[in-house]
Amino acid sequence: MHSEATARPKTAAPRAVARHVERSYPLWFYIPGGLVYVVLFIVPTLLSFYFAFTRWTLFDSTFVGFDNFIQFFAEPGLIGSLKNTLVYGVVTSASKVVLGMLLAVLLSGPIIARGYLRSVTFFPVLVSAVGVGLTFQVLLDPFNGVVNQVWTAITGADGPGWLTNPDLALLSVAAIDVWKGVGLATLIYIAGIAAIPNEYFEAARVDGAGAWQQFRSIILPLSFPATSTVILLSLIGGLRSFDLIWSTTQGGPGFSSDVIASVIYKQYQAGFYGLSTAGNVILFLVVTAIVYPLSRWLNSKETSL
């Protein structure tokens, strides 16, 4: 969630403010914070870049060059998991954008029990991913789960194995992720829509614009900062998603819902610490390679609005 700042439109800070900050906070004031940052962030990051090149058993490590990376890319599951990661990231992020926007428009309008409905939408965000995973594992059980019992009551046939069918498992988990995360997207959109000055709507109404035209020409373009925030946040979340996948399918059945993060975790579990560190470096590079250009592009679109 640390990327929130990068997603915001860059407003050039007035020089006066910058000078004021400099004056009231001398350089040494930053030392404690900087120390914490170096010890807890920079040092482990550099160390992990080193250990990615070793075969490491926690007891000792031998330098093996690029072997871990070669091994990681030779891993039969890796290409599959890379594909799954992209599918998962894109599907969850796109659904959150669309659903979040729809819900936000709905919840910004004059409807009954608006506050209550907003809370209901936001509630799943607050629940732990592991709790959500275990709950859905029970709900989606192919024979005893509520979902398939309803399915059987309606159609008379056995329902699909949501989490046990290799073709469905990943998409089922993505759907759970969307259910859990759409509240945050909605919240961001509600804030984005609330920030649009009322004059635009008044002007549009005077000109005779209908609800659709107002949505199309005012809400959609003017909530673009919110859209880019939601896209970036949910894409980063989706690409490095782990807890929900682990608590629902553990990457299974077989390897069909493995993502990079779960493959990394499995290497760690197996005691291949060097290999799993190399996996983390790869994940870091993949996320950066996708998110950085995307964020640059979204920001450039924003400033041209």
């Binding site: 192919p142 059945p253 579990q269 005691g271």
Partner: protein, 441 residues
């Protein structure tokens, strides 16, 4: 804004950062208190996994030892089970924060702990002579013995419902063909012939792991060749285990909910007789005893059938062991050795038996099993008595790939074929061998 409050804030910030750093240094002493009680007793702490079975047995053994003398007091500390627990053990060994003694698997998992650096060798202790030879092999690395058995031997094979067998007039199969013929009759009677529970993925490995006796009887040096990268799962005879897993799926012999069912559900189907046979490890015997009144007598056990009735036999697992980490020294080390010497006596076995019905033979010489044990234990005992037993692969080779259970789920639910699964497992194994620095990989 004057500079004064800022300076004060900075001082506080620096102070709290250094407090944080100091805290980090001293955290270890909280985890591993070096305590000796005022009565001059030496206190020993054992780290064990938190399963009910382990803690019950651990408590029995600690209480039994504490009652037998009054110089040493043994206490139990628990850690999570499974791979999370493995990492706790590895981390604590690596950072020198291990308790005075710890319980951990024997065989390939012990080898991964680098025993030569992290554990105290027990080779020169007299009590090693009291231990079962096959167990001693499973805790030996570079000719040094490191562990004392904790718990009982277990076996991998197939549970069966005796009532179903009797009703259909079936007899215990000795070959795979007989097994499949039995399955056809069971299926005809409207009962699921083979129970599988891929909701607990580890249970999917049994057809492959329990087949190892059959591999060894066909090729006695298979394990050495495998360790040296000269034998593979894709080739005969080892691929048979994967093929058997695929056979029962292809023939439609599995329970309907095999993909999501968990161990307890599988055991329930077995004792209810809605499923006839369930491949498993015998430590689960204690889990089904409470599921039905007649479970103890009604559930039998047989070794996984192979190609040849003459060589039919059991694949056996050594129990977990108690080890002393190399960080235990001085008085504590002497006390720990005294404790282990006691654990390797029939007295300790009796304490374990009193706490919980044993699910297999003890690996300590002179330990007797009581009468009236569940039928499956008696069935299993017969194989040991006849000497028709081979150790599981993990006790003959340090090489075991971490993804076997995922691969067997794929093969066992028709996602992939036996040949592809076996090939994938051979790939998986390579990493472990390289990690251990074995020759020829």
């Amino acid at each position: 804004m004057s500079h004064h409050p800022i300076r004060r804030a900075a001082v506080i910030a620096v102070a709290s950062v250094s407090a944080l750093a100091l805290g980090a240094c001293s955290a270890g002493s909280l985890v591993n208190p070096t305590e000796s009680s005022s009565a001059g007793k030496t206190t020993l702490t054992i780290l064990m996994d938190s399963s009910t079975q382990t803690t019950t047995q651990g408590k029995a053994i600690a209480d039994g030892f504490n009652a037998s003398q009054d110089e040493i007091e043994v206490k139990i500390e628990t850690r999570p089970e499974g791979t999370d627990g493995d990492n706790v053990v590895k981390t604590r060994l690596a950072t020198g924060e291990m308790t005075d003694l710890f319980q951990y698997n024997s065989g390939s998992l012990m080898q991964a702990l680098d025993p030569a650096t992290n554990m105290v060798s027990l080779t020169d202790q007299d009590f090693i002579a009291n231990l079962d030879e096959s167990f001693v092999t499973s805790v030996t690395a570079d000719e040094q013995v490191y562990g004392v058995p904790f718990g009982q031997l277990m076996a991998g094979g197939i549970y069966y419902n005796k009532k179903v067998y009797a009703d259909l007039g079936l007899s215990v199969p000795k070959t795979w063909d007989e097994f499949m013929a039995n399955n056809a009759k069971i299926k005809e009677a409207g009962i699921d012939p083979v129970i599988q529970t891929y909701g607990d993925t580890w249970t999917s490995q049994l057809f492959v792991l329990a087949d190892f006796h059959n591999v060894l009887s066909e090729q006695p040096d298979w394990a050495e060749k495998y360790t040296a990268n000269q034998a593979k799962y894709v080739d005969e005879p080892a691929i048979k285990g994967f093929e058997r897993l695929q056979d029962v799926y292809d023939a439609g012999y599995l329970n309907k909910d095999f993909a999501s069912a968990k161990l307890t559900q599988g055991l329930q189907q077995l004792v209810d007789g809605t499923g006839a046979q369930y491949p498993s490890l015998t430590f689960t015997i204690t889990s089904y005893l409470e599921l039905a009144d007649d479970a103890a007598e009604n559930i039998g056990f047989f070794a996984q059938p192979g190609d040849d009735a003459a060589t039919n036999g059991l694949t056996s697992w050594s129990p977990a062991a108690l080890y002393i980490p190399s960080t235990t020294t001085g008085d504590k080390l002497d006390a720990a050795k005294k404790f282990l010497a006691w654990v390797a006596t029939p007295e300790a076995c009796d304490a374990l038996t009193a706490a919980m019905d044993p699910t297999g033979p003890y690996a300590v010489k002179g330990c007797a099993l009581p009468d009236g044990l569940p039928a499956a234990v008696t069935d299993m005992q017969a194989y040991y008595d006849n000497g028709n037993v081979s150790p599981a692969l993990e006790f003959l080779s340090a090489v075991k790939g971490p993804n076997l259970e995922k691969i067997t789920v794929e093969v066992g639910s028709g996602i992939t074929t036996a040949a592809d699964g076996a090939a994938r497992y051979d790939e998986d194994v390579k990493k472990q061998a390289q990690q251990l620095g074995l020759e020829g990989w």
